[in-house]
Symmetry: C2
Subunit: 152 residues, 2 copies
């Protein structure tokens, strides 16, 4: 039996599809508060904004901080379609997010289970609860289709 | 004989002092292009902006990308008063900055020579030229004085 992805992941997938439609790498992220209310959603905008830091996760963290009037997102969950890179993983630690949920693994550029493994060394100031593999096939297919179309 | 810090580091120190005056952790960063022209300068604004990603380096990278109309800062140098954290170091790699110059080391929260050592593992996509220890004592004193004053 296959369970549907959570509401948060469904919204993150929507944000990823919207990013693809803008010609951006299709990754989407949402942040929900302790009550499960969505307080921020974003897709990649690195090209549009000429901003190498405009990954979905960073845009969502910035929007959630502004929405809550706090640089710490205590009690919040970040849900993202792809394993965060080292920059985004370290931003998740800086924001003190309670929980990180992600879809597809990213062995090449990820920084959670691959590469810098931001939450896995002694110096890390904060480790969120981690849930991976949610709607993994759908998240990965979006990326695969996007890059396949660009190679044509 | 003690040489004065470079012009870029002098401006980064100015940005750090301005951050301290705003009640922010005194770290400052500037980005110069291949001709040595300063194209962006920023100090920490995490509290003011309620944004955990608003470190001096990230704000400078975003401003430089906007100034150049490019998400890649080819040929550019980022000069910062403190060793970048893992988030900022990974952003420097994403921006493809040619060179990173920094002042004081940060054994607790740094991500270059400490902790995640972003540029030192096989998965890193980009390694900038690295120069550390520039105006180290002055950069470190700013931070030490700031935290000492807050403990009083």
């Amino acid at each position: 039996m296959v369970f549907p992805p959570s509401k948060a992941m469904a919204l993150a997938l929507d944000a990823a599809r919207a990013a693809a439609a803008r010609g951006e790498v299709p990754v989407g992220a949402v942040i929900s508060d302790a009550a499960g209310q969505i307080i921020a959603a974003a897709g990649n905008r690195t090209r549009e904004l000429h901003d190498p830091t405009a990954h979905a996760e960073l845009l969502a963290i910035r929007a959630a901080g502004a929405a809550l009037g706090s640089e710490r997102l205590i009690g919040c969950t970040l849900t993202v379609t792809l394993e965060p890179c080292a920059m985004c993983a370290a931003a998740i630690a800086a924001a003190r997010l309670d929980r990180l949920v992600y879809g597809a693994a990213d062995p090449k550029s990820g920084g959670v289970e691959a590469g810098a493994r931001i939450f896995s060394h002694a110096q890390t100031h904060h480790r969120p609860e981690l849930i991976s593999g949610v709607a993994e096939a759908e998240c990965a297919a979006l990326l695969k289709d996007f890059f396949a179309a660009r190679r044509d």
